[in-house]
Symmetry: C2
Subunit: 611 residues, 2 copies
C-alpha cells in the first residue's frame, strides 16, 4: 500500500524560532513556567518521531479497512483506537484545549504538532479534532451544570465530540435546517428531533460516548440562522449516578467517499423514538425569537476552518516530499540543458524541479499564513493588553477565510503536480500521490465551501469595524514595503511585485465595492469572489514571505556555503523568489479580470447549461 | 453506483454542420456516395442512443467488477465483452480505420462518434482504441505478408491490438528501452525478449488473440530511439494453417489504479522462455544501425494523443452536464442578488453558474480544437491537391500536442469545479463527479506527458519547415482578425483580446527563442514549457471560438427569442465571450511571466527540495 510519511520539519522550526516572535508568546503568564523557545526543537522532533513511528503506520488501515457501518454502529480500524488513546493520554490531543490544563501548548506549538501529525494520517486527525472543537466550545459557552457532566471526559479525549450542523436540506445554508427542540419540565433540557448528515466522526466505536454540539430550532424561534440554538446532545445520556443510557441518537449509515476512508462521515437520526434529550447551551431564544446557537457554533467552526487549512497543507507537503524522494531514485531521460551528461534522476529535470518548486513555495506560503494566524491567536487569548488582544482578533477574523480556503484550493492542483512527477506510477495506488489526491478534495467543501469563505471575506471581513480593521492590515503591508524596500539584496523585483500587488488589491477592493453598491452589478461580487479570495491570500502570503526573506538574508550573511544550514536558507530564498515572481503577479491579473465586468455569467439563464 | 450519462450533442452538431466545412469533406471521392451533411444528425443521434442505452450501463461494471488478473490472464467484465462485439460488429469501431472499408466514416464523423461513446464509459474505450491504432499502423507500414495474417481480424475487431513502448526503466525516454530482437533464419521474423509495463489493454479475455505493436532493438542497432524497430508480436502465434499457438507473451499483472478500473493496464514479459517471435515491420536497421520503429510508432502515438484529448473532453463535459442536472434539483440558499426571492435551486447561484460556465466554455474550446484537427485530418488524407494536403498536415502536426495536452490538463481543474458544485455530495462516490476525477488524471501523463507535448510544440513544431508552417497559422489568425474586426456585434472587446493575445504569443515565442540560443538560458524553455503550451492552446481556441461567433451571430439574427434554438445560440455567445474575456487574457499574463526570466528553478539544486 501507498502511504508514506516523508515530512520535513525544518520550515516549521524556522517559522516558530526564527520568523515569528514565539518568545513573546511563551513569555505570557500561562506558558512562561513551562516552555521557552529552546523547547521548540525538542517538541517538534518528538512529535515528528511519534508521527512517523506510531501514527503513520495506521494510515494503511484507514485505506484498507476503513470506517465501516453495521447495525447502527460505526467501526473504525483497531489501530485507530490505540493511537487515539496514545495521543490523548500523552498530552498531544484535546487536553491542550483546556484553559486550566497544566502545560497545555500554546496554539503556535500545538498547531505545529497537529500539522506534523496530520501528514501522517489525515483520516485519523478528525477523531481528535472534533473532540477538541467540542471541548473548546463547551469551555467557552456551557454552564457549569453541563461542564460538570461532560467537560473532563471530553478534555481527556475519553469521550468524542462532534459539530452537528448539516442536514439533507441544509448544507451551505444552515438557516434552512429542520431539527427542532421542544422544552421539557427542566428549562435546561429540551427534547430534540432531527436528522444530520456529513457528521465527521459522528459515530465511532473507540469511545463510549460522543458529545454532539447540535444546532436545532426551539419551537417558535425565528427562521434562518438567527433562530438556531445549540444543544449538547450526547449519544448516551449521562444519568445522575454517572451511568449511561441510550439517548435515541442513531447512526443510520456513513458515506462512501472518494478519500479519507478511515474517517467516518455519519448520517444521524435524532429523537426518532421521541426519546432524545439535549442540554441547551446559553439562553433560550429571546422574545423576538433570536437565539445564540449560530454565533456559538462559529467558535467551533472557525477552529475547524483553521484545521482544514492545516490538513490541506500537511497532505500537500507530504505528497510533495514523497514525490521528491521518488525523484531521487528514478532515472529517466536527459537534461534539456545538458543532454550529454546522459541519463539523470528526474529530480534534476527542469519541469520536475518546477513542480517541486511550485509545491515548496506554495506550501511554505500556506504555512506562513497559518502560523501567523496561530501567533495572532496566542496574542488574542493571552496578551494582558486589551488593545493588543483586539488587534490580534481583527487579524484572526481577516485571515480565517484565507487559512481555510487557500491551502484547500491549492491542494488539488499541487498534488496533481506531485502525482504528475511520477509519470504513470503516480496514477497507481501503490504510490502515495493518488491517495493524497483523493483525500484532499473535501477540504475545499466542508466547514463552509470556499465560495462561502470568499463571501465571508468580502462581505464581512472587508467591512468589519467599518473597514478599519482590514485597511489596517493593508497599511501594515504598505509600511513593511516602505521600511524595507531596497534592503533585501537580490529581492528588489520581488519587493516591487509586492508593492504592485498591494496597489492592485486596493483597486480590486474598490472595484468590487463599486459593484456592491447597485443591485444590477452586485452579482459581480459572486462572480469574482473566488478569484478575489485567492488574490487576497497571494498578496498576504507574499508579504509574509518577504518578512521571512529579511530573516533569511541575515542568516545567509552569517554562514558559508559549506554550512549544513546553507541549503535550507538558500532554498527558502529561492522559493520566496519563485512565489513573488510566479504566483503573486496573479493579483494584478485578477485586478484586470475583475475590472472587465464581463456579464456572461450574470446574463446566463440556467437553460443555457443544457448545452 | 455513480455513473450517469448526461451528454448533450448539440455543440457537436454545431461544429460539424454549421462551423466546419464538413460538406467539403463529405464530397471527397471516398465519402460522396455514402454521406452528406444531412446525415450528421442521424449518425449523432443514433450513436447518442447507443451510448446511453448500450454502453453507459456497462460503466458500473468497470468500477465494481473492474479488470482482474489471475494466473497470467486478464479478465474484463462480461458486459464489456458484449458491448465490444456489438460496437465492432455494427461498424462503430476499428473497421472505420480501413482505407478500403465500404462506408467507413471520415475522421470528422468518427471523432464525434468516439466522443459520444467515450463519455458513456471511458474505461471501455481503449479496448476499441488500441485495436484501431494497431490496425491503422499495420495498414500504413506493414508488408502484405503481415497484413495477410493479421489485418482482417484486427480491422474487424476480432483480435485486439496494443502499442508496446514503456518499460520499467523507459517511460518518457523511450530510447532507453531494453527489449531486444534477434534475427532468425527467416529475415522477416525475429526472436523478441523484453518486458513492457503500462500496456493499455495489454491483455484481455474477450478476444482470442492480441496484436502487440512492439518496439525493440535489433542486436547491433543504435542506442536511443533511432535504433528501435517495430515488430508485430502476437499473443498467439498464427500458424500457416491459421491455428494459434502460444507465443511466450505473458501478462504478469495489472496496475491498481486511481481510476479507469475497467481498463486493464498490463505488465507483459515477452520471450522469457526464449520462445517469442515477432514480425519485423519495414526494413531492418541500416548499416549505421538506424531503424524505423520510432517513426512508425508515432503514427499510432499521434492517434493515441488525439484520443487522449477526446477522452478528457468527453469525461469533463459529462461531469459538467451531470453537475448541472444535479443543480436543477438541489435547493439550497438564497441568491446574492435577490435574497428576497427565497430558497433557490443551486443552478441559479452566481458561483455555481461560474463553475458551469468555466466548464461549458472550456469544453467547447477543447471540442473546437479537436474537431478542427479532425477536419485537417480528413483534408490531409483525402484531398486530391497535394498542396492542400500538405497545408492540412502542417496544421495537424502543430495542433496534436495541443489536442493531447490542453483538454487533459484542464480536466483536473474543471472536474474539481463540477465536483465542488455538489457540495459534500460531490465527495461521495454515489455521485458521478468523484468517478470522473479519478478517471481523468492519467491523461495528462500517458502517450507522452504534457511536458513532453510542450517540448514537442516548442522544440519541433515551432521550427518545422524552418518555422514557416507555424508562422502561417499565426498569420491565419492575424488575417481572421483583420477581416472580422468590428464585425461581430457585442464582441469588440473579445476581438481586441484575441489581437492582444496574438501579439503576446509572438512575443512569448521570440522570448523563448532568445532563451534557446544560449546554454545558460536554455533551461527557461523547460521552466516555461507547460505555461507556454497552455497559452498556445488558449490563443488557438480563442481564434476558433471567434470563428464560431461569426456563425452564431448570423443564426441569432435569423431567429427570435422564442425559437427553440435560441437558448443554444445565446449560450454559445456567452461561453465564447466568457472564454475570450476570462481565459484568453492568460496569454499576456504568461508573456509577462516568461519575460521575467526568474532563475529560481534553474538555480535550485536537488538538495533544496529536502525542505
Amino acid at each position: 500500500m501507498s502511504y508514506k510519511y516523508a515530512y520535513n520539519t525544518r520550515d516549521i522550526k524556522f517559522c516558530l524560532k526564527e520568523w515569528l516572535p514565539t518568545g513573546e508568546v511563551l513569555s505570557y503568564d500561562r506558558y512562561k513556567d513551562y516552555y521557552g523557545v529552546d523547547d521548540v526543537d525538542m517538541i517538534v522532533d518528538q512529535i515528528r518521531k511519534i508521527a512517523a513511528e506510531v501514527l503513520a503506520p495506521t494510515a494503511e488501515d484507514g485505506e484498507n479497512i476503513g470506517a465501516k457501518w453495521a447495525d447502527g454502529q460505526v467501526y473504525i480500524p483497531p489501530s485507530f483506537h490505540k493511537v487515539y488513546r496514545y495521543l490523548q493520554d500523552n498530552g498531544w490531543g484535546t487536553t491542550n484545549m483546556g484553559r486550566e490544563t497544566e502545560g497545555a501548548l500554546p496554539t503556535s506549538l500545538f498547531g505545529a504538532v497537529c500539522e506534523i501529525l496530520a501528514a501522517a494520517n489525515p483520516a485519523f486527525m478528525p477523531y481528535i479534532g472534533t473532540a477538541s472543537g467540542a471541548a473548546r466550545m463547551m469551555q467557552e459557552y456551557c454552564s457549569d451544570d453541563i461542564k460538570a457532566i461532560f467537560f473532563e471526559k471530553l478534555l481527556a479525549g475519553i469521550w468524542g465530540g462532534t459539530m452537528c450542523i448539516t442536514e439533507p436540506t441544509a448544507g451551505s445554508d444552515a438557516g434552512d435546517m429542520l431539527s427542532k427542540a421542544f422544552p421539557t419540565d427542566d428549562p435546561r433540557i429540551y427534547k430534540i428531533k432531527g436528522q444530520k448528515i456529513f457528521i465527521t466522526c459522528g459515530d465511532r466505536d473507540d469511545v463510549e460516548n460522543i458529545v454532539h454540539m447540535y444546532l436545532a430550532r426551539v419551537e417558535g424561534a425565528k427562521g434562518g440562522t438567527k433562530g438556531l440554538s445549540m444543544f449538547v446532545v450526547p449519544k448516551q445520556w449521562v444519568n445522575e449516578d454517572g451511568s449511561l443510557s441510550d439517548n435515541d441518537v442513531q447512526c443510520i449509515g456513513i458515506e462512501h467517499k472518494l478519500g479519507l476512508k478511515g474517517s467516518a462521515t455519519a448520517a444521524l437520526v435524532v429523537g426518532e423514538n421521541n426519546n432524545c434529550r439535549g442540554w441547551l447551551v446559553g439562553d433560550p431564544p429571546d422574545a423576538e425569537g433570536n437565539a445564540q446557537g449560530m454565533a456559538q457554533m462559529f467558535n467551533m467552526m472557525n477552529g475547524a476552518r483553521l484545521d482544514t487549512g492545516r490538513l490541506s497543507l500537511a497532505v500537500t507537503a507530504n505528497a510533495y516530499w514523497n514525490a521528491k524522494e521518488y525523484g531521487k531514485e528514478r532515472v529517466q531521460g536527459h537534461l534539456l540543458t545538458n543532454p550529454k551528461a546522459g541519463r539523470q534522476t528526474i529530480n534534476k529535470h527542469e519541469d520536475v524541479k518546477r513542480m517541486y518548486m511550485l509545491n515548496k513555495a506554495t506550501t511554505e506560503a500556506s504555512r506562513a499564513l497559518l502560523y501567523k494566524c496561530y501567533y495572532y491567536q496566542d496574542v488574542a487569548h493571552n496578551d494582558p493588553d486589551p488593545e493588543r488582544k483586539a488587534w490580534a482578533q481583527d487579524r484572526i477574523d481577516m485571515v480565517t477565510p484565507l487559512c481555510k480556503a487557500y491551502p484547500s484550493d491549492e491542494a488539488w492542483g499541487l498534488i496533481a503536480e506531485s502525482l504528475q512527477s511520477y509519470g504513470g506510477y503516480g496514477y497507481c495506488e501503490d504510490y502515495p500521490a493518488a491517495n493524497a489526491a483523493r483525500d484532499c478534495k473535501i477540504w475545499s467543501i466542508w466547514e463552509g465551501t470556499n465560495y462561502i469563505q470568499a463571501l465571508d471575506l468580502m462581505g464581512r471581513k472587508w467591512s468589519q469595524k467599518k473597514g478599519t480593521a482590514f485597511a489596517a492590515t493593508l497599511k501594515e503591508i504598505e509600511e513593511f514595503i516602505t521600511a524595507n524596500k531596497g534592503k533585501i539584496p537580490g529581492m528588489d523585483r520581488e519587493m516591487e511585485h509586492l508593492e504592485k500587488a498591494l496597489a492592485s488589491y486596493r483597486s480590486i477592493q474598490k472595484t468590487i465595492w463599486g459593484y456592491m453598491k447597485s443591485p444590477e452589478t452586485l452579482g459581480f461580487m459572486g462572480v469574482y469572489a473566488r478569484r478575489t479570495l485567492t488574490a487576497t491570500a497571494q498578496l498576504y502570503c507574499g508579504w509574509l514571505l518577504m518578512e521571512q526573506a529579511l530573516v533569511v538574508t541575515k542568516r545567509l550573511a552569517e554562514i558559508t556555503e559549506e554550512d549544513p544550514e546553507y541549503t535550507f536558507y538558500k532554498g527558502k530564498m529561492l522559493s520566496i523568489r519563485y512565489y513573488l515572481t510566479n504566483v503573486v503577479p496573479n493579483v494584478w491579473h485578477v485586478e484586470e479580470i475583475v475590472k472587465m465586468a464581463d456579464t456572461s455569467i450574470l446574463e446566463a439563464s440556467e437553460e443555457i447549461f443544457e448545452y
